[in-house]
């Protein structure tokens, strides 16, 4: 626990409730207080008037007066409905206090007259200094852990791409076809890192339609076309050599790049976006139909990025981690139904209904994954 300051603030949501003998303070007028005096909350059966929409980072005290006829509750939520603090059972006429530690960020306040439903929500902004993200030792460890993953994948990528390239150059179509989805697996797992280097990605992984005028169609998908559509790799040698040297270059750059924790969070989401737009539709590997290999690799790569962030996420949003675990498992299970031998069924072997099930599970997973970056950025 080297960074007790930040984590402590997040983990502790202290709550004190006073018996409500003091008179109800009227809703404060004026703009956001710079310091943190008491923030008056006027709760009724139909409204939840919070005295300010902005408080300074640190300890905040909310003083909730129930002017309605139903028992009410008051909550402060972080994004994703994570409870930062709550006061329950505020009977009509009573005033109770909620004292919580709030780091900078955006929150929601909520009164729940009748104590059911989502409550009457309002926004709350918490402003103030916070340290740069990479100063956080836990975050630094997360990026270091992911960098190690990238290194392990790039090592395998070099080996497997070399085998694939060798098979192409040797004119061994069957061997090359077998190695094509395997070598791509290592690429697809870390694709968002490769995409940082904008000029290399289309050369290595560009599909035919993204190739601009005057640019040669190269890379994996060009060789895929030669193998499956043209069925002639006698002239593919130079393309294969080019692929190998481009892959070497991107590997070198990827391992030199210093990634930020935000890039991990966003990369995990981007990998699922890749699945949703390219793999479910069968657009990625349109000649070989080996899209499910890429699908599995994207999913694994996304999970690897999330796992690297796991200690950070657990400290900051345990509920999100639980959801992520459930949804990753659901997606893996859905995909597992299409395993065939050591690999996967071809995209063309799946029915529309089966593809919809996969699409639903990816949508279900990508929503919570899209929340990671904001939690990391807190």
């Amino acid at each position: 626990m080297r960074n007790a300051l930040l984590l402590g603030a997040l983990a502790l949501a202290t709550l004190t409730a006073c018996g409500g003998t003091e008179p109800a303070a009227p809703a404060a007028s004026g703009s956001a207080p710079a310091g943190n005096g008491k923030v008056a909350v006027a709760a009724s059966d139909t409204a939840c008037q919070v005295g300010t929409a902005e408080v300074a980072a640190g300890t905040a005290t909310f003083s909730i007066t129930n002017g309605g006829s139903k028992v009410t509750e008051f909550y402060v939520y972080a994004p994703g409905d994570r409870v930062m603090g709550e006061v329950e059972n505020i009977v009509p006429g009573l005033t109770r206090d909620l004292v919580i530690e709030l780091p900078a960020g955006t929150y929601e306040t909520a009164c729940k007259p009748g104590m059911i439903g989502k409550g009457i929500r309002g926004p709350l902004k918490v402003t103030g200094e916070h340290k740069p993200l990479t100063d956080d030792a836990q975050l630094a460890e997360a990026t270091a852990s992911y960098q190690r993953y990238v290194r392990s994948q790039t090592d395998a990528l070099l080996v497997k791409t070399q085998e694939f390239v060798d098979a192409v150059k040797a004119g061994d179509q069957e061997k090359a076809k077998a190695l094509f989805p395997v070598s791509r697996t290592y690429w697809e797992r870390i694709e968002p890192v490769a995409e940082i280097f904008g000029d290399l990605d289309p050369k290595i992984d560009g599909r035919e339609e993204v190739i601009e005028e005057g640019m040669e169609f190269t890379g994996y998908h060009r060789l895929e076309k030669d193998l499956w559509a043209t069925k002639d790799i006698s002239g593919s040698g130079p393309i294969a050599d080019q692929l190998m040297s481009d892959v070497k270059l991107v590997v070198e750059k990827a391992n030199a790049e210093k990634l930020s924790p935000l890039q991990l969070g966003n990369g995990a989401k981007e990998l699922l976006d890749e699945v949703a737009t390219g793999k479910i539709t069968g657009e990625e590997d349109r000649y070989s139909h080996t899209d499910l290999w890429d699908f599995a690799a994207n999913l694994e790569g996304s999970q690897a990025a999330v796992q690297a962030l796991r200690p950070v996420l657990e400290a900051r949003d345990a509920a999100l981690v639980k959801t992520l675990d459930e949804k990753f498992t659901a997606a893996e299970t859905a995909l597992e139904a299409h395993r065939k031998g050591d690999g996967w069924k071809l995209h063309t072997e799946l029915s529309k209904d089966e593809l919809k099930v996969l699409s639903d599970t990816i949508n279900a997973l990508a929503e919570p994954v899209s929340k990671i970056a904001a939690v990391v950025a807190q």
Binding site: C48, P113, G265, E367, A374
Partner: protein, 416 residues
């Protein structure tokens, strides 16, 4: 006050405007008893809370986005949680606010916004969101099997229908109606997004022009065949008839449905190209009404009651027994009436040089098996119009009563 209102003047009541800048005021509910006959400006909000759901007797708006969902979660609590989240977002969006409290641009920059943003700057536009529960929701997954109302028994097969399962049925539906198509689409898109992982869109349908009026303050619009549609519709001013024909009463069987209604949807593809080659005389004979005024044959005005006994000089009835107006008329079905709320659609073209066009039929009623079913059976068996139309999708949904206030949610009476 980030994210409070897309457009403050429309989004908040007077109190909210007065409080702007002073802090945060979340408005929970608008007056529940808004004057029913008010059509107001096309940009005004329609109250969300009330005894009945809005979007039924609400004067029919110009645009529709209808969606049916399959529930994918197996967890009842997760479904209830979603209904609560939806209710909260619906209450906000119908009042012209963003779907979430931070809105399209008010949240943390690292997070995807809690509203998709395409309705920024647009007023509420009369948006109503109406939820329904399909028969399949009561199949036992959520412990609801013994709560299924008898009225929600599946519709019989009608002669001639060619239903496509992928655009029929659904565990849940939401009807979004608004005067601005962007507002209706925005609402469905945000609800679908909130539902990821719990529900999956089964199908959705856009409608661009209302084909019924649900208030005497509205003129009767025309369907794509060029005829006035729904002249004899139930209208919000007919309070007694609404009680008898539209709203479910406690004694009807399922107490949780009291104050609710039942919805039948039918996507009716029209062969408009062949219809357009049909003579005016034949078109009018098929409907039993004039195309211009919309009067039943033998009558002068649209709202004159048809006289089915009236005969022409040839001794034949002026309105044929198989004319649409006769087959569908309440007098042919023991007085059965519907509140119709359909929309014209054109889903592009069909690849054969024809418009993929027709009517997305929407009808609300107290008991579909005593109202829609007999009418549709008569139509399906005899209506000459069948040469020009084809029913391609069907939906049946229980429409629960309205959400009473901020502490209530869609479907509470069913799940509690």
């Amino acid at each position: 006050m980030p994210g409070i209102s897309r457009r403050k003047l429309f989004g908040l009541g007077a109190a909210g405007v007065a409080a702007a800048g002073a802090g945060t005021l979340a408005v929970a509910s608008l007056p529940e008893e808004a004057a029913p006959a008010r059509t107001g400006s096309a940009s005004d909000p329609v109250p969300f809370y009330g005894e009945h759901q809005a979007g039924i007797v609400t004067p029919a708006q110009d645009r529709l986005h209808f969606v049916a969902f399959d529930v994918t979660t197996k967890d009842r609590a997760e479904l209830v949680d979603l209904l609560q989240e939806w209710t909260s977002a619906a209450a906000r969006m119908t009042q012209g606010q963003d779907a979430g409290t931070f809105g399209a641009v008010g949240g943390v920059p690292e997070a995807p916004p809690d509203d998709t943003g395409e309705a920024l700057g647009l007023p509420a536009s009369g948006l109503t969101l109406t939820i329904g529960f399909g028969p399949s929701l009561f199949d036992g997954r959520f412990g609801l099997a013994d709560r299924k109302p008898a009225a929600l028994a599946e519709l019989p097969k009608f002669p001639g229908e060619a239903l496509l399962p992928e655009i029929s049925g659904g565990d849940l539906c939401v009807q979004a109606c608004a005067h601005d198509p962007q507002v209706a689409v925005h609402a469905i898109r945000n609800l679908a997004r909130i539902g990821f992982g719990k529900v999956s869109v089964r199908y959705s349908q856009l409608g661009f022009g209302r084909t019924s009026s649900t208030s005497r303050a509205q003129a009767t619009p025309r369907n794509l065949m060029g005829f006035k549609d729904g002249t004899a519709n139930l209208k919000l001013e007919d309070t007694d008839m609404l009680r008898d024909h539209l709203w479910v009463a406690e004694e009807d069987g399922a107490a949780w449905m009291a104050g609710g209604s039942y919805l039948v949807t039918r996507k009716i593809r029209m062969h408009i190209e062949t219809w357009d080659r049909t003579s005016l005389t034949e078109q009018e004979a098929i409907f039993g009404r004039t195309k211009g005024e919309g009067a039943a044959h033998g009558m002068a005005k649209e709202f004159d009651e048809p006289d089915f006994a009236k005969k022409g000089p040839d001794g034949q009835p002026l309105i044929a027994d198989i004319a649409h107006v006769k087959l569908a008329h309440p007098s042919s079905h023991g007085g059965a009436r519907l509140l119709r709320r359909g929309y014209n659609f054109v889903d592009g073209s069909d690849g054969l040089g024809r418009l993929d066009a027709g009517l997305f039929f929407i009808a609300y009623q107290r008991d579909p098996h005593r109202q829609f079913v007999p009418v549709q059976l008569a139509l399906a068996r005899q209506d000459v119009l069948n040469e020009y139309i084809k029913h391609v999708s069907s939906g049946l949904f229980a429409i629960p009563p309205g959400v009473r206030d901020a502490g209530d949610y869609w479907g509470r009476t069913l799940f509690s």
